[in-house]
């Protein structure tokens, strides 16, 4: 285990890493905060997403160099997890639970309603960039389903009416 096939046998552990875009600069400082440790890659991606909204493609080579891993490995990790975004997304991410408990309380209708209300499919971002809607599978609020999460805020018993109130709140905030 923990064999690292991509590490060059003789190569120096530390290579000079050049950052030329702001995103690359941010990526490198986040990597450094994590001691450039490859096992903290998920934490690194989480923080990048928190700071930049997504993980830009052009940061992958510098992350690879900083962590002494191949680009393919870094890319492979990024694309494996549903949570990470490779492209810019809306200011607010609205996650709608589509798992069984929420299904039993009408989440499929809620999803159709959300798509119609925002005029985008699940996974889409509104034209003004305010909201991205995503499907997720279980938010741990299954006794109060259907459940929705906006950023880190969880909502229970979300019917179309409550959904509209949540969205109206986000739109109002964006307009201010």
């Amino acid at each position: 285990m923990a064999k690292n096939v991509t590490r060059s046998p003789k190569g120096p552990r530390k290579q000079e890493v050049k950052a030329s875009t702001p995103a690359q600069v941010a990526a490198l400082s986040i990597c450094a905060r994590h001691g450039n440790k490859p096992d903290e890659l998920l934490e690194i991606f989480h923080e990048m997403q928190h700071e930049l909204g997504y993980v830009p493609e052009d940061t992958l080579p510098v992350i690879a160099t900083a962590l002494n891993r191949s680009r393919a490995e870094i890319y492979g990790v990024l694309t494996f997890y549903h949570e990470f975004h490779r492209h810019p997304v809306g200011k607010h991410i609205v996650k709608i639970c589509r798992a069984e408990a929420c299904q039993s309380m009408g989440t499929e209708e809620l999803c159709r309603h959300a798509e119609a209300r925002l005029n985008i499919p699940l996974g889409g971002t509104t034209a003004d960039g305010t909201v991205t809607i995503e499907q997720v599978f279980c938010l741990g609020n299954c006794a109060l389903s259907p459940a929705v999460m906006v950023g880190e805020k969880l909502y229970g018993r979300v019917d179309p009416e409550r959904f509209d109130e949540i969205i109206a709140g986000l739109e109002k905030e964006a307009a201010e």
Binding site: M1, A2, K37, P38, D39, E40, L41, L42, E43, F45, H46, E73, G76, V77, F80, Y81, H82, E83, F84, K95, A99, E100, A101, C102, Q103, S104, M105, V136, F137, C138, L139, G140, N141, C142, A143, L144, S145, A147, M149, E152, K153, L154, Y155, G156, R157
Partner: protein
């Protein structure tokens, strides 16, 4: 000074608990009432959240579900003295839902301030570890073995045996890893404990570390649980400062430190080897076994991996003895399980009860039937890989072995209720769809089979060569069961086949419309 409790559990927050706490604070100020607000965990009566409690000389009095707009009327009615109100339920401990439980793991959850070590100690916290620190590691393991504790994360493997394997190995480094991925729909017990009584998990993991000889531990929490992540990190910090974690714990000579790692929205990372890969910063691909993780686990070192509920059961086992715990339960299913009532149910929440209780008791006695008021038609037990039970099977006692006999599984103890409007062909289709989305991609039957499964079920629904396609679906299920490396591909046939066999009518309806039938062709 009057103490008022307003939960900070994510489910309570989802129903406005923060607003309620703010409203109570400002109303108390306005009325010059001397009120102290404690943010406790949840009592598990989620249908009453936010459940506000007031401490009175007679005990804690409950009001719920409270909205911010109810606060003025609560003050007017004298709720600070525990007086009656239309949202009142009397003494919390006397509410039948709560009273008729057997709370061992959740004994403190909802009662204490999750970040108060003083509260924790007052209600028996760290008694188990204090005992363990004075015992030989092998005696700790014997106590856990005696208790009959089996893994609460789904597979039900005896916890003592796992620990013994790690204990017996010589290694310069060993780990303890807690599986807090809790990806199953209908489950929230891990989340409730991490938010409502985090020290209990920390204590259980520390006991495991002492028993197995580990000095470092990780808790892998799913990213859908940001509140759990915050609460755990804060509690770990507090425990560290009080020397319940770190070097030379309470002067015992044992050292153990603990870290939280956050997942990133992949169900498969709940599978233990996939979780290890993920903690190591890699793609969550399932590893071939052997070697088992107890022998070669995290970073290739011996690792004790358990679910949150398994670790959290350990402190009381050590504090009161393995025999005490074993006296709960039936057959080879010992102790209690945190049953979780979810979906279309009137009184959803957490019911901790000894094994042997039936689905019907849980749904009817505790749950009060469906939320919609219509008859319950199907219950999925044990998460998305669990079987759908028809009404005729509601009286089978909850017991690992009894459930295997009826081609079902207890799993993590989640029950998701559906009323009679459910379309079971759609539920079967979803099981395949879920597997297709969440497959790690390592084996063909799971990766490709699940996508084919969706297509075949679509054809059945559209009435295209129905008999042939039903036979094909059965065949596909056998291939997935036999040809998958892990239980995602291996168990997806369980919900599919239970839907097909127990609810055949739903697969034999007239085609929804001709257009759809043509499209599926």
């Amino acid at each position: 000074m009057i103490t008022v409790f307003v939960p900070c559990d994510a489910a309570a927050l989802s129903m406005g608990a923060d607003d309620v706490a703010t409203a109570i604070a400002s109303e108390a100020k306005k009325r010059k009432a001397n009120v102290r607000i404690v943010r406790n965990g949840s009592r598990g009566m989620l249908y009453l959240e936010p459940l506000v409690e007031v401490e009175t000389p007679k005990g804690r009095v409950a009001y719920g579900p409270v909205a911010a707009k109810d606060v003025v009327s609560l003050f007017d009615a004298g709720f600070l003295e525990g007086k009656s109100h239309k949202l009142g339920h009397g003494l919390t401990e006397e509410i039948p839902y709560f009273k008729n439980q057997e709370r061992l793991t959740f004994a403190r959850c909802g009662i204490t301030d999750p970040f108060s070590l003083e509260d924790y100690r007052k209600y028996g916290g760290y008694d188990g570890l204090a005992k363990a620190l004075a015992m030989k590691p092998i005696d700790i393991i014997n106590e856990v073995t005696t208790s009959g504790l089996r893994g609460r994360g789904g597979a039900g493997f005896p916890t003592g045996i796992k620990w013994k394997t790690v204990h017996d190995l010589a290694s310069n480094q060993k780990y303890v890893a807690c599986n807090a991925d809790e990806g199953d729909s209908g489950t929230f017990a891990d989340r409730m404990l991490m938010e409502g009584d985090p020290f209990c998990l920390i204590e259980g993991m520390t006991i495991a570390a002492v028993a197995g000889g580990a000095t470092k531990g990780y808790i892998y929490v799913r990213s859908e649980y940001p509140h759990s992540v915050h609460n755990l990190r804060k509690a770990i910090e507090i425990a560290r400062e009080a020397n319940w974690l770190g070097d030379n714990i309470q002067g015992s000579g044992y050292s153990f430190d603990l870290f939280v790692r956050m997942g990133a929205g992949a169900y498969i990372c709940g599978e233990e080897t996939s979780m290890l890969e993920s903690i190591e910063g890699k793609r969550g691909l399932v590893r071939y076994k052997p070697p088992i993780p107890a022998i070669e686990g995290l970073f290739g070192k011996p690792t004790i991996i358990n679910n949150v509920m398994s670790f959290a059961a350990v402190p009381i086992i050590l504090a009161k003895g393995g025999e005490f715990y074993k006296n709960y339960g039936v057959g080879r299913s010992r102790g209690t399980l945190a049953f979780q009532l979810a979906g279309n149910i009137k009184r959803g929440g957490l019911v901790e009860k000894a094994f042997g209780v039936t689905t019907r008791q849980l749904i009817e006695d505790w749950g009060g039937g469906t939320h919609s008021g219509r008859p319950a038609r199907a219950v999925q037990v044990g998460g998305p890989l669990g079987a759908y039970l028809p009404e005729s099977k509601f009286d089978v006692p909850m017991d690992y072995e009894e459930f295997v006999k009826i081609d079902a599984m207890v799993g993590h103890g989640g029950l998701v209720v559906f009323d009679d409007t459910v379309d079971m062909a759609q539920q079967a289709r979803f099981a395949m769809e879920f597997c297709a989305i969440e497959s790690c991609g390592k084996c063909t039957p799971c990766r490709i089979g699940s996508t084919r499964g969706v297509e075949v079920i679509d054809k059945i629904i559209a009435d295209i060569d129905r008999e042939k396609n039903v036979a094909l679906l059965e065949d596909l299920c056998v291939t997935m069961t036999d040809g998958s490396l892990c239980a995602l591909g291996g168990l997806t046939p369980l919900p599919v086949r239970s839907a097909l066999h127990e609810f055949p009518d739903d697969f034999h309806k007239p085609a929804p419309n001709k257009f759809l039938a043509d499209a599926a062709e």
